[in-house]
């Protein structure tokens, strides 16, 4: 069938393509301001200590140094949920915690100055393990969190915000089960999303209560919202975004970095640039939460899950800003994956003395499933159930429901994802390859192949609110006002594409405002795959509103009713007689027309991604080679073919599939130091190691917005890791339950040698 669209689903160069390939895309580190100072952070060498004194006498005499700030100099700004983490505190809580801030005329001078700050610490005992932290007598990180248990709940999600999954009757569920399995499973390797561009900011404090920040974040409007909370609502910062050099969730928030620069600028009244080094980025910025779950599941012989009961421990590091949100969403997503009537799943967030956890693609659901699927697999093995059939059977169908993050029950009113799953299985050859649990698909000498499958789906595609304006100009051009930054998905171009389709105006005639919080309306930002549906819907509504106003204004001139008119290429014409037409200029040369659009949250649509994995394990070296990945999804309508493919290929990195194979942050659990906080020791996949990826994308129209599309970018990373564990177990013929499956672990599992420890174990 021919496409009804002129722009949607067409491959066009990205709006910013020329800037990117010529090096003219102005990333934050490329920006300079007159009189600009450079900020640096002195960081704690101790995982837990009280600062007894800081001496800075020598530092202020050094050339170029303009400010040194310690906990005694800064206002009582606090981040975290609830807000308990001071920007600079008397207590340090991990190796890398900020002790002092310096601003100097050059980066070298600022760096040099750090060496001259003398700090006296009273070292405190520290705790690095979730369960150790919960024991009586364990070192306490905050007075506000007795027993190191972080207060559950996210007030922003509403009064009933989801803190656990408790419903039905688990006892009855277990009684109905044919098989019951239980155990403790973890996803604790803390893979680091590591966007190539580190977190950074330039801040300029001008009047007593006015600060402007140039940010490089994923959601530049939310920076102003978050900062205004932290700054005790006394200040409304203006945030201006720019190209974002990768985020994968992690740079949705850089509140600490932003506050450091703001405070230094407040002290000096000069613009201050503060960009983390790669080592700081890896060792002191947020990474994926660590999860450990002790649980029990009941299953019938046909793969019906009758009960899930367990405790989900989440290590959030030294603070939580979003971990409660990740839990709420993860708890919603797990119900989408397993349509079971009986639940008793209780999360506990624990703080420990390492750098904090934060947002990463997969947002809670990936963490939870990476623990739950291995447990379900044990039950499937006992019940003799094929995992593909199991995942297909248990995933929410239209009419099926779940409690979402706001604690409210929703029924999925979207499409049936079964078709995409089946198509994926066909392309992968699941039926031919599947030989049963713990059976390799092929054995070639010491090399054994195995397959696995995983799934993820979320109702976050309609999360939170978005607003936009579209302004029409008499010269036949339009401008979109939307506070979105380009962070790699290509969506900025796609929003222009959507406006172009509504207005039937060439994309070259549409521009977008800079992502400046001062000129644009509210925008939660691209997160949780909400870009296509939620942001898209607001933008479409704004374009439709502008178009309607235009037609109403022009109608009398063409002696017609607005509904009898249409517009194309900047000309309004009568539908019954296209020869009767008039250019937009007829609106008057001194007039513009502005449309407004808003999207309100809608949690009744679910996206889905199923990932099939084939690995080859060398039983002599223990190396796991990822041979093939098939991602299967249904997006309703493809908006941007190459952009979508790029996003799906992203399943490997940014703490995705490779977090099951070799990615991990290695914490020295005696000293509290991250041992591999650099790009040489942190492993990442290189070009020669790329597996074959096939992306199966279906287009069953969704009841979303007028283009019937939903997003899937975020979730591409999520189904893979547990599928890798499954594939490796099947290849080896023995269960392997720890991430990542390093050669040492594989050999240990085979009883061959070694401690079997990855660094995080």
């Amino acid at each position: 069938m021919a496409s009804p669209y002129r722009f949607i689903g067409k491959t066009t160069p990205r709006k910013d393509a020329r800037e990117i390939v010529t090096g003219r895309a102005n990333f934050l580190a490329d920006r300079k301001f007159p009189g600009m100072l450079h900020g640096k952070v002195l960081r704690s060498p101790h995982p837990h200590a009280l600062i007894k004194s800081v001496s800075r006498d020598e530092v202020m005499k050094l050339p170029g140094v303009e400010a040194v700030l310690t906990w005694e100099d800064v206002p009582n700004w606090k981040g975290g949920t609830p807000r308990c983490t001071r920007i600079l505190d008397r207590k340090v809580r991990y190796v890398g915690d900020a002790v002092a801030l310096v601003a100097a005329d050059t980066e070298e001078h600022a760096k040099e100055a750090l060496r001259f700050i003398k700090v006296e610490y009273e070292v405190l005992p520290a705790v690095f393990d979730i369960e150790e932290a919960l024991k009586p007598g364990a070192p306490q990180l905050y007075e506000d969190f007795p027993g190191n248990v972080v207060t559950p709940g996210v007030p922003f999600f509403g009064p009933k915000n989801l803190k656990e999954v408790v419903r039905g009757d688990v006892e009855r569920g277990f009684a109905e089960a044919d098989v019951i399995t239980e155990g403790t499973f973890g996803y604790e390797n803390m893979p680091n999303p590591i966007p190539p561009e580190p977190p950074g900011v330039v801040a300029l404090w001008e009047a007593p209560d006015s600060v402007t920040l140039w940010v490089s974040n994923q959601a530049s409007y939310m920076d102003t919202v978050i900062l205004s909370h932290i700054m005790e609502r006394k200040i409304q910062p203006r945030t201006i975004g720019g190209p974002c050099g990768g985020s994968f969730g992690s740079k949705y928030m850089s509140w600490q970095v932003q506050c450091y620069a703001a405070l230094l600028s407040r002290a000096t009244r000069k613009p201050v640039k503060l960009v983390l080094t790669k080592e700081e980025h890896l060792a002191s910025f947020t990474l994926r939460p660590a999860s450990r779950m002790s649980a029990k599941v009941g299953m019938k012989k046909d793969g019906t899950v009758t009960a899930v009961q367990g405790t989900w421990l989440i290590d959030t590091g030294y603070y939580s800003m979003t971990t409660q949100s990740q839990i709420a969403v993860g708890c919603g997503e797990v119900q989408i994956m397993v349509q079971c009537p009986n639940w008793d799943l209780k999360p506990v967030i624990v703080c420990t003395n390492r750098n904090a956890s934060g947002i990463v693609r997969g947002f809670g659901g990936q963490e939870l499933k990476c623990c739950l699927i291995p447990l379900l697999s044990l039950a499937m093995e006992k019940a003799g159930v094929d995992p593909f059939e199991f995942l297909k059977k248990n995933f929410v169908r239209p009419g099926g429901g779940y409690f979402w993050r706001d604690g409210i029950w929703y029924n999925h009113r979207g499409i049936d994802h079964t078709k995409a799953m089946e198509r994926g299985a066909e392309v992968f050859g699941w039926k031919e390859k599947w030989k049963g649990w713990l059976k390799p698909t092929a054995v070639n000498g010491p090399k054994r192949r195995g397959i696995g499958v995983g799934i993820h789906g979320s109702a976050d595609i309609g999360e939170d609110s978005s607003e936009a304006y579209v302004r029409l100009h008499p010269d036949g051009t339009a401008m979109l006002f939307s506070c979105v930054t380009e962070h790699g998905t290509g969506q900025v171009t796609n929003y222009i594409r959507m406006v172009a389709e509504v207005l039937q105006l060439p994309m070259e005639r549409i521009s977008i405002t800079p992502p400046d919080s001062l000129i644009n309306p509210y925008e939660f930002g691209p997160a949780g795959s909400r870009g296509t549906y939620a942001i898209g819907a607001a933008i479409i509504a704004a374009a439709e509103d502008a178009r309607q106003r235009l037609l109403e204004l022009i109608a009398p001139r063409l002696k017609a009713k607005p509904q009898d008119l249409d517009t194309v290429d900047g000309v309004v014409y009568r539908k019954d007689d296209p020869g009767v037409k008039i250019p937009w200029k007829a609106m008057a040369v001194d007039r513009t027309i502005t449309g407004y659009g808003r999207f309100d949250p809608d949690y009744s649509l679910v996206n889905c991604m199923m990932t099939f994995i084939e690995v080859e394990v060398d039983t002599e070296t223990g190396k796991v080679a990822l041979l093939r990945v098939v991602n299967a999804t249904d997006v309703g309508q493809i908006i941007d073919p190459p952009g979508l493919e790029n996003q799906l290929n992203g399943c490997l990195g940014s703490a995705g599939i490779d977090s099951a194979i070799f990615e991990e942050m290695i914490l020295d659990r005696s000293a509290g130091r991250m041992l591999n906080a650099n790009m040489i020791d942190y492993k990442w996949r290189t070009f020669p190691e790329l597996p074959v990826i096939e992306n199966v994308v279906m287009e069953t129209p969704f009841p979303s917005h007028r283009f019937h599309a939903v997003g899937v970018g975020e979730i591409a990373t999520s189904p893979g890791p547990s599928a890798v564990l499954m594939a490796v177990s099947n290849a080896l013929g023995v269960w392997i339950h720890k991430y990542p499956v390093t050669p040492e672990r594989v050999l240990k599992t085979l009883g061959k040698t070694g401690s079997g420890k990855g660094g995080a174990a």
Partner: protein
Amino acid sequence: MEKRKSVRPVAFLKKGEDTVVRTQKLTRKKARATERISLTVNGKIHEMEVGTASHQIDPAHTLAHTLRETLGLTGTKVSCDHGACGSCTVLMDGKAVLSCMTLTIECDGKRITTIEGLSDPETGELDPLQQAFVDHTAFQCGFCTPGMIMSAKALLGENPSPTEEEVKEGLSGNFCRCISNYHVVKAVLAASGKGR
């Protein structure tokens, strides 16, 4: 004076083989300063004094620093600043080098090409490789892209018709976290002799 040959082509930089790279950084301070150095960047000759005053080239300055901070050529991106990710790749006499691991004072007499030097300075027309990156959307966030293009440029300079495997090998020192790698390979092949 005798110049140390410390510049390593990206293609030879393997993970784990970092000792040499690190030693270079440590020996920075010891490098002897010439009075003046001259380097040609994108066809333009820059005569620079060596010294520690703010207008001079500090012996400790990396080429990446000089390009970005002194010459304002910010197209060269620094990500790891440690020789591991390839994002700072530029061409030195046609070969790919990591500008974060190269000292500027060692570039005396060298011809440097950065991403800014690829398109036609008169017409603005893109290099066929840049055009191929545009046509194949061979980027997502775009932060790794300048380095990726410069590595690919060096590769095609040495091997105008590489196989897919050779492209992957040639780009093995370049980190792309967004995983635009698949589109990059397509773009490089399209721009190569084979693709035309």
